[in-house]
Amino acid sequence: MVPMAKTVIKVDNLSKQYRLGQIGGGTLRDDVNRWIARLMGRPDPLAKIGQEGAAHARNESFWALKDVNFEVKEGEILGIIGRNGAGKSTLLKILSRITTPTEGRITMRGRVGSLLEVGTGFHPELTGRENIYLNGTILGMRKAEVDRKLEEIIAFAEMERFVDTPVKRYSSGMTVRLAFAVAAHLEPEILIVDEVLAVGDAEFQAKCLGKMKDVSSQGRTVLFVSHNMGSIVDLCQRGLVVESGRLIFDGEVGAAVTCYMEKGVSHRKEITADDFSGLLRDRILIESVRINDIDVGAAPLVNPLETITVEVLGTSKAQLSNMDLFVTVYKDGVRLFTLFDQKQWGYLEQGAFRSVFTLPDKVLRPGHYTVRVGGDRKGGFEWLLSGDIGRFEIMDMYSDGFEARAHGIFNFPRTGMRLQVRKDQ
């Protein structure tokens, strides 16, 4: 019988309430003034004009988290996504014991290491080596553990030459590398990471993600918050979506990302004839444009290793001969290419139509692209063309075999050849 994986984190009905208004930033002088004024029957000298009920304003509160429930098993890598202000950081802060819940209970098993910031506790007067110790112990390592890993940490940061100079003389890049090297060698049973990867260049980020994958492959549990959907999908198997303090999705990471993206659709407006210019705009109505089955208005994220399917749905009010329908893809304002829905001019029948355009996988590189849609009738006079009707993003991937080093817009197959003309001894 296979033993069931143990639960390492259990979150029960977690809620966190914050009070609004100014609390704790007051001064004794202000309070004394207020108190004296009250004694003398005068109005509060510190209330803002028109805010007589100032006392009430101070009692307003909002729930940053409400009734969050989930369980994490040993060895899972859990991604937590959500818009800014959704409550992700609050959740992490509570899990990291930086602040306490208002309601509910969390039980965790094993040592917890939190990376909410890189370089916590660094002191500029201390040398790199001394800061490794300080930072390491602040993050929860024992001194003996830091002793053991010291060489590894210095090597990972590539700082052998500089480790005995005071940190105040480091460049910011060096500080980040050192700080992350320490953090990367944290080996808690539960690792919590909050977007610290946003610091550093792409190569560095890839290195960090790689290290996090190693950590999880050793059976440790990882909780990862990021806005970079690419790294979320790359690293995690399971995703939690947080929205306005509530957990709205808990499941497979791809579905979680879709859920998160679709949340952005609500603000999208309908496509109307006004979005188009050209003589044909009253005769051909485009109703929806979807990429990999997500509305372009939601700026879908596309996995670079998948084929991209663009679907355009619309109706034509009349039968039009010699029609081409197309989708144009732009990047940074530059038109890259146009995809047509037929091999040659053809009839567009009156009624509803569905055009499908396919881009092979691994052609477009990670980046943001805009989409326009339109139609062209042979002759050059009758056409329709939209403005920017939507966007999509090709995710960054950090896995091997992805050609991370190739920069640019397109991936081309490796067709170059090298011929050894002469071999010198």
């Binding site: 639960t7 007051g26 004794l28 306490t100 969390i106 965790m108 098993r109 909410l116 112990t137």
Partner: protein, 293 residues
């Protein structure tokens, strides 16, 4: 769900290993000493950091710990000893003032530094967890190093006077020095964490502290012996928990002072009460202050 079955459920799920439970309310009185002990490496590194930073940041480095008490003692001797001619209990004024200064400085430094714990460390407290008491404790230890240097100078001068005069009568009370130090440190700790807990609500308290500590020095027998006060006042002055400690310290090393077990135990009880109150407030504030900072 009853509390009992939740416990059972947690046992099943988690077993006996290192378990952390995060709840809205903790026990306000627990000192979490075991947890603090687990972080002793960190506490010592904080001590090291403060020492190194101070050493590198001041022009004179550790020499400052020698020059400062010397200068203060000389000034006191001139102003209070020669000009004001305050009583020094029959002791050489220089030594009298130095003894008071050395132990008072330890208290004042620890107290002032700990009072700023929450305000000065809001950054680090917001980013990583460690028992917040680790910082006040590290302050107690790092200031001890400065004390040791000053104490050494005091002993040096004391030895000189011992050999050249016969006014000094050091006695067995010297053995209680660690106890006196502990009491002093605990008082500074307790008072400091009370103030720092209050600073999370009243930021301008920090300004008052510097001023308050100055006043407190005059209210304590640092520059005058307890015995030189009028009878009526002596009782009230002795209620100051620092007074018996300083007097005992002076008596131990110099042979004159009002060392009394009775006063020391009253002082001890006061210190304990302050520590308790401080722990209560600190525990309460520690949990929530990141929300208000």
């Amino acid at each position: 769900m009853s509390n009992e079955s939740t416990e059972q459920l947690h046992e099943e799920l988690f077993g006996h290993d290192h378990i952390t439970v995060i709840e809205p309310h903790g026990n306000l009185f627990e000192l979490k000493l075991r947890e603090l002990w687990g972080y002793k490496d960190l506490i010592l590194l904080f001590v090291r950091r403060d020492f190194v930073a101070e050493y590198k940041q001041t022009i004179l480095g550790p020499a400052w710990h020698i020059i400062q008490p010397l200068m203060i003692t000389i000034m006191f001797t001139i102003v209070f000893g020669n000009i004001a001619k305050l009583s020094t209990d029959g002791l050489p004024p220089f030594l009298f003032y130095m003894s008071g200064t050395v132990i008072w400085t330890y208290f004042a430094n620890v107290f002032t530094e700990i009072s700023g714990t929450f305000t000065k460390n809001a950054g680090i407290f917001g980013k990583v967890y460690f028992p917040r008491l680790a910082i006040p404790v590290s302050v107690m230890i790092s200031k001890l190093i400065a004390f040791a240097i000053q104490f050494g100078i005091f002993l040096a001068f004391g030895a000189y006077y011992l050999m050249t005069t016969n006014v000094l009568v050091p006695n067995g009370w010297i053995l209680f020095t660690p106890l006196l130090l502990l009491m002093m440190g605990s008082l500074a700790l307790g008072g400091g964490i009370i103030i720092s807990s209050l600073t999370t609500r009243y930021r301008d308290l920090m300004v008052l502290i510097g001023f308050g500590v100055q006043l407190l020095m005059y209210a304590t027998p640092v520059i005058y012996p307890l015995s030189s006060l009028p009878e009526k006042w002596q009782f009230w002055a002795a209620l100051n928990p620092i007074a018996p400690i300083i007097e005992a310290f002076r008596y131990a090393y110099l042979g004159a002072g009002t060392a009394s077990w009775e006063m020391l135990s009253t002082s001890g009880a006061t210190i304990l009460a302050i520590l308790l109150l401080g722990t209560l407030m600190f525990n309460r504030v520690e949990r929530t202050f990141m929300d208000t900072v």
